[in-house]
Symmetry: D3
Subunit: 197 residues, 6 copies
């Protein structure tokens, strides 16, 4: 179960260690998930504890995160390419939702959304675009989320589409988003802050 | 991804519904995970939100729980037969640990334990016996745990061994636990309360 | 391996049939994948043969598609939530790419792109945003793609974000995409055609 | 399929070898599964042939064992954290059983048991506590068991709970098992022999 | 874990039952695996206990078989499309082997074979063509084999190639096997007995 | 997702590289799948693009192939031990089929076959023996096939049975195929050309 090697070799891309030297710290992180973090431009911070923080998680298929939301802050539309997410609200209120895929009507691109209060639980199925928004202009919100992979990945839609390095051709994006190329150019010139950090 | 059927048919043992009638409530539970629950004889309560509470979780491989610990309360030694657990402490302090399997020495039945404070994260690998104990005689503790299955199962060791219905033969248990049969009989006569509820 | 039931019951959401009545047609589709299809507004059509067309594919983890591209047509940025895609070009030239997830720098949101000629092969890893564009203003292009699921799903980013039903709040999208709310409103008023059909 | 590396590198924790040097011995073990083994204090010996004995088993998801039972011997309550077990009796009689998990009543901690004769087959589902007992005071018994993992693991309940190194706090165990701390201390002072060897 | 439904519905093609009615017999079979079976024309009988004999095996990924070999009998070249096999010899001697796939030389179609004595263990990796042969002209042999699926399937090569219903075109087979069509016609006219029963 | 290591270490048997050095070429192959290949003795060539050609495919569970068929050429009976195949015809006509396993009658060794025209799609389930034959004496045929593994393997039945190195004992094969030993010896003396290359 543990991928623990003699040499500094990586399995699933992560360094392994000698199984004779396993100890409790390989399954532990002083993660400070009780502490609010300064939020960024979109008004949220995701503090993810995955296999990069806890080596013992490798192959075990789970990770956990604290998410802080400033007043009117949001965790903008994003996907996890390798995980389903389950979230519970610790503080405040969240308007959350996900959009179904290109299925046959009437389920095509259907938004399933809900306002969550403290203690509520919501599920975002693997790979679907989803978001959380704190509609309260005065109070922050806090959630704990768990993901069904030790390395779930996160793709913030706007960042990946308009902030990639190098940029995607504006010919492609203008037609895809039905806007003028100069709108795309404007968007690509913005700073797309990563709130998963 | 969703197992949603016309008839009241079960997949993985759970009732499915018509995919044309999916809505946000299939992914939602007003779970009250913000609220402490009265604890029981061992001094803990596990409030698990799994596929039985949220039908949309089926096949998605994750669930979430709040665990309350009274002062000196514990979540007694148990296993999850189908899931790894990742836990973070919301309130208080926990002494936690798991025991490795019958591996070759020096890793045989090794206890890996840690004292966790607020915000710390710990991992209990799938199927291993583990526990959490609140060492504080005056203050409760609270944790959020996530599990890598929509139906992880929980086996409280003492309950399954000494409280099964019908009882396991005391001949078997006396030899297995190296005690007299009347000690086994005494144990089997106790009430073994389930704290996963 | 086959999910074939007496009653019209669904497994993975698909109708099953009596295993005593299996025949070659359960593994066959006169799919016309040799024929170009009239392309739509974005200038492409994806003709996917999945478990909805071939019942025998259920649980077997693969599907196949023909993609037609008009001159300057594109298969706009999209993801497959449950599949990796491998593509080969039959006719013409394609500029293709995918964007990595929010990994630590220098791999954050990195665009990996390539110009593909006839006979070339390219891979789009599961869940990552990718696109194909026919840069030739005069000639169409054609590709065959295979996906590692019998029901891979497709999420066209622009459609899911700006064309969901009901719409995502423009408060959320304006901040997420760093534009004015009236730009979002304009986008949400457009017709977002589905090219996976 | 084979994890065979040039360097002495481990995958799943096991040493791999150069794929150019594979031969029949990588899939073979002169395991002596036809021979009774001297039994230990609990009156049983499990001779498991897993990936540590046959390197070619890596990733293939199966292993096999012979189990010897002295008259009145037992394979005490234990779990396999990563495997289901299927067992057939070669010689003698066995009283076997497993206990279900903390499910809702009436299935909570239900003991499913059976007396097995020569040639009978029984299944112990993954992760559930189970045992085998030879009720015959005069004759030994023998079984062959197969497990659905190349590295199933075994956790003997009494050994892991009372014989861990270091010991679990007797405060925890006394409350968990509803006995006095000196009973726990007595148990922790015993020698807990490993019968999986 | 159990697929147990109210209606006579099938999951993975097998009938499920009400989970409230589970009992030990769902995990048991009086399989008579201690008894030799009359062998057939190829001189062997495989007595497989899979999910069709023990309903509780569904989804658990394992099955077990006894194989009897007459003097000079064989279990002819075959594959298991969904399982690896691990085998131990209970009585007699077996010459066993498997052939690797069309890999690059020098591993292309390499025969890995071994003579097994009582108590020896050998592994046949998933999907590879393998056989067992009892070279002793006077004594029978017996083996126990376990397979890594509750429904491993078996494809006896000669039977599937020359005994299919309807027959494969002799044009195809003559060229494939580099023989005259009348040799194929002769082979297709034979009775191809199934020794997995 | 990527198995990319510092040292030249192999995961799943394939060399990994430093994740800091990933680029588009790790997901690309100038595979020339648009070009016919000279066919061999059986009249077909399989040009498979798998993880050995595109390192980025590792763990992603898919590969793709072009298959050329000379007039009256065939892809002789074979299996893929680790993959289902889905095939579409680009040029010409193919008579294709697969044979079911040793199931209970009436499904035992049933041939499911079909004549495919351009644009048709057919599925060959994992591990089953299947073939394609071009019945046209004047025109070649071309197909694209996709497989549900990055390393599906291919076992040409005649080659593995009669062309293994070293040969399988002719005692075994004569009885298995119900022919004289000198017929087996004749077959084993032939050259069994590999058309997967």
């Amino acid at each position: 179960m543990l991928h623990l090697l003699y040499a500094p070799v990586r399995v699933n891309g992560f360094v392994c260690k000698n199984p004779m030297k396993v100890n409790a710290d390989d399954f532990f992180k002083a993660a400070n998930l009780d502490k609010p973090r300064v939020t960024n431009k979109v008004g949220s911070n995701v503090t993810l504890i995955n296999v990069m923080q806890i080596a013992g998680l490798n192959t075990l298929g789970i990770s956990i995160a604290r998410i802080d939301y400033a007043p009117l802050g949001q965790n903008p539309p994003h996907t996890h390419p390798r995980a389903t997410e389950i979230l519970t609200v610790l503080e405040g209120t969240l308007y959350v939702g996900f959009v179904t895929s290109n299925q046959p009507a009437p389920n095509r691109n259907k938004l399933l959304s809900k306002v969550l209060n403290k203690g509520d639980v919501f599920v975002f199925p693997v790979g679907l675009i989803h978001f959380q928004f704190n509609p309260n202009p005065h109070q922050p919100a806090v959630a704990i989320a768990a993901l069904s992979s030790q390395n779930p990945g996160a793709i913030t839609i706007a960042n990946a589409v308009f902030g990639s390095d190098p940029p995607i051709s504006d010919d492609v994006l203008a037609k895809a988003f039905q806007v003028e190329k100069n709108t795309i150019d404007y968007l690509q010139a913005q700073f797309w802050e990563n709130n998963h950090n």
